[in-house]
């Protein structure tokens, strides 16, 4: 069971990176991007395509995927999302839902429904191997990357002017504009950052698990779960959220069987949503 706990915590790191993009977009734009899971999987497929078909070394492939995703995010933000942000919560939600359906089926059309994976050496190495616990290399790597991403993002948001302009825009759009911040551009930057993290997350997910075009939905729920448990807009909260989900999932699988492990995670998520909808770290005030 210790194995499950440790693996769950490490898995939490990966889940945190998956959720961080969604948390940022929600915290800054107030938009719940239902296409986040599918966008991440798009990143996964891009990386896989580069590695498998074009034999690009994996780190370079991830870099290219990051750039492609950043461009896609920018285009999506400028031409689709910005237009719908002032129409209310419902249209924005439905637009991202439409994008999600469009994307997942496009990927299905191009790549077929087969399960794929990104071949890498870390997945098969066990970093720690004692009699009671063995830690897979890729899980540990994902966790470390997750921590690094969160720390770097926190630094950027708190200490740089770039980050400050984004935070200002989310706090009070009008005041920010009065101070000379180009708010539409700030939104684009936020989306680009979110897409970069999604690309990184996608590469990690693809290296750790098998995936297919429909995986976007499951990862969307995980991303949402991570964000909700940790509290929307809280960067460190996503790490907590990821760990809670990861541990629930693996412990659930340990006690009830791997077929229902996601079910256990979903039930935990629903309970937390019902009891503390603003997240575990929130002060409890309901919006």
């Amino acid at each position: 069971m210790l194995q499950c706990l440790i693996q769950g915590i490490l898995l939490g790191g990966l889940y945190a990176i998956i959720g961080i993009g969604m948390s940022m977009v929600f915290g800054i734009m107030g938009l719940t991007n239902l296409a986040h899971g599918d966008l991440m999987i798009l990143g996964t497929y891009i990386t896989m395509l580069l590695v498998s078909s074009y034999h690009v070394p994996i780190l370079l492939a991830v870099l290219i995927a990051i750039i492609v995703m950043a461009v896609i995010g920018f285009l999506m933000q400028n031409f689709l999302v910005n237009r719908v942000l002032d129409k209310g919560a419902e249209p924005a939600l439905l637009v991202t839902f439409g994008i999600s359906i469009f994307l997942s089926n496009l990927i299905l059309k191009i790549f077929s429904a087969d399960y794929q994976s990104i071949p890498n050496s870390l997945a098969s190495t066990n970093v720690v191997s004692t009699s009671s616990v063995s830690v897979s290399g890729i899980y540990l790597f994902s966790f470390v990357v997750g921590l690094v991403v969160i720390v770097v993002l926190s630094y950027v948001m708190q200490k740089t002017n770039f980050g400050r302009s984004i935070r200002a825009t989310s706090n009070d759009t009008m005041a920010a504009e009065l101070m000379g911040v180009n708010t539409k551009r700030a939104y684009s930057y936020a989306m680009i950052l979110a897409m970069v993290t999604a690309a990184i997350a996608g590469a990690l997910v693809g290296s750790t698990f098998t995936f297919n075009p429909a995986s976007g939905t499951s990862y969307l729920i995980i991303a949402f779960g991570v964000v909700v448990i940790g509290g929307m807009g809280s960067l460190s909260g996503t790490l907590l959220g990821g760990v809670v989900l990861g541990v629930s999932q693996l412990l659930g699988g340990y006690f009830f069987g791997t077929g229902v492990q996601m079910l256990i995670a979903y039930i935990v998520l629903l309970v937390i949503l019902a009891v503390r909808p603003n997240g575990l770290l929130a002060s409890g005030a309901r919006k």
Binding site: E90, I99, I101
Partner: protein
């Protein structure tokens, strides 16, 4: 505030005429036309109910597929395993949907807005996993609903027709009742409604229960058409995709919207069968474009430009 649309005698005559036509179609319609119409009526029911929750009550749910699956499985299990009459099994599908809906409502109704939307989606996904791992319903293998194989196209058509007409009538009567007023008040401004004494929770629950019931019925009738049910299809998000597409294109918050949306959806998907794999891509793209250009849908934009309306009680802040 606009006046309630007066129900003119001409309107009622037209409605009855349409109904009569629909009833006698089986005499000269081809089997294919009958099955298309049946699909339209089933989807129309789903659209009406999704619109009731999302367009009128402001409860945007992405998890209604849960009840389609429950309805379908009730039909399958009760009629195949226990030899229950098909229509009774479908009815039980509706009842079980309400029961399940009520069971999750304490948790679900604590959430609002996007939390409610995704929370309902998670509930549906949870059901999907649960059914895939349940021996009683044959895991992910699914159940072949043998009891419906000998039904004729005409029987299926009339069942779907009855379902569609009843669903529209129920929503029509509901929206003209006190509950309907309450719903629109809640949608427009929950705080003000509460201050005026509108029982918010009770109204939402009433609306939700009606939607769950008819969604369950629709699921049963849909699987009467399809004949085989597996968890990944019964609880698939595709149902919600269809519902949102219908309501977005047709016009949310109107009653004719889901009707038009259902017609468009069925015809579009039938046409796109010629191009396998493209239907969802195109649907997604069309939905996004429509929201950006004409967020009120066909009926909404029509009403904006020409003031044309047929069934909807127009009382909104838009």
């Amino acid at each position: 505030m606009k006046q309630l649309t007066k129900r003119s005698p001409l309107g009622i005559v037209i409605a009855i005429a349409i109904l009569v036509v629909l009833c006698v179609i089986p005499m000269f319609g081809s089997n294919y036309a009958l099955s298309i119409l049946a699909l339209i009526f089933i989807y129309m029911t789903m659209g009406q109910m999704w619109n009731l929750m999302g367009g009128y009550a402001g409860l945007l749910s992405l998890g209604m597929q849960a009840f389609i699956g429950i309805g379908g499985y009730c039909l399958a299990v009760f009629s195949v395993n226990y030899g229950v009459n098909i229509y009774l099994a479908i009815l039980m599908g509706g009842i079980f949907s309400v029961l399940f809906g009520l069971a999750v409502s304490p948790a679900l109704f604590k959430m609002t807005g996007v939390y409610f939307a995704i929370g309902s989606w998670v509930v549906a996904e949870a059901l999907l996993i649960a059914f895939s791992n349940w021996k009683f319903v044959r895991y992910a293998q699914g159940i072949g609903i043998s009891t419906v194989y000998q039904l004729s196209n005409t029987q299926i058509y009339y069942t779907a027709l009855a379902l569609g007409v009843i669903a529209v009538l129920v929503v029509l009567c509901l929206m003209r009742s006190k509950t309907g007023l309450a719903l629109m008040a809640i949608r427009d401004s929950t705080g003000a409604a509460e201050a005026m004494g509108v029982p918010i929770y009770k109204t939402k629950i009433k609306c939700y229960m009606i939607a769950c019931f008819f969604m369950g019925l629709a699921g049963g009738v849909m699987y009467m058409v399809q004949g085989y049910i597996v968890p990944s299809a019964g609880f698939s998000i595709q149902w919600t995709v269809a519902m949102t597409f219908m309501v977005i294109i047709g016009g949310s918050g109107t009653m004719e919207g889901p009707i038009i949306g259902a017609v468009l959806y069925v015809l579009l998907t039938q046409y796109l069968y010629n191009f396998p794999g493209w239907s969802m891509i195109i649907l997604g793209a069309v939905a996004v474009v429509v929201i950006l250009i004409a967020p009120r849908g066909v009926m909404g934009t029509l009403h904006e430009k020409t003031g044309f309306e047929v069934l909807s009680p127009r009382r909104s802040l838009h």
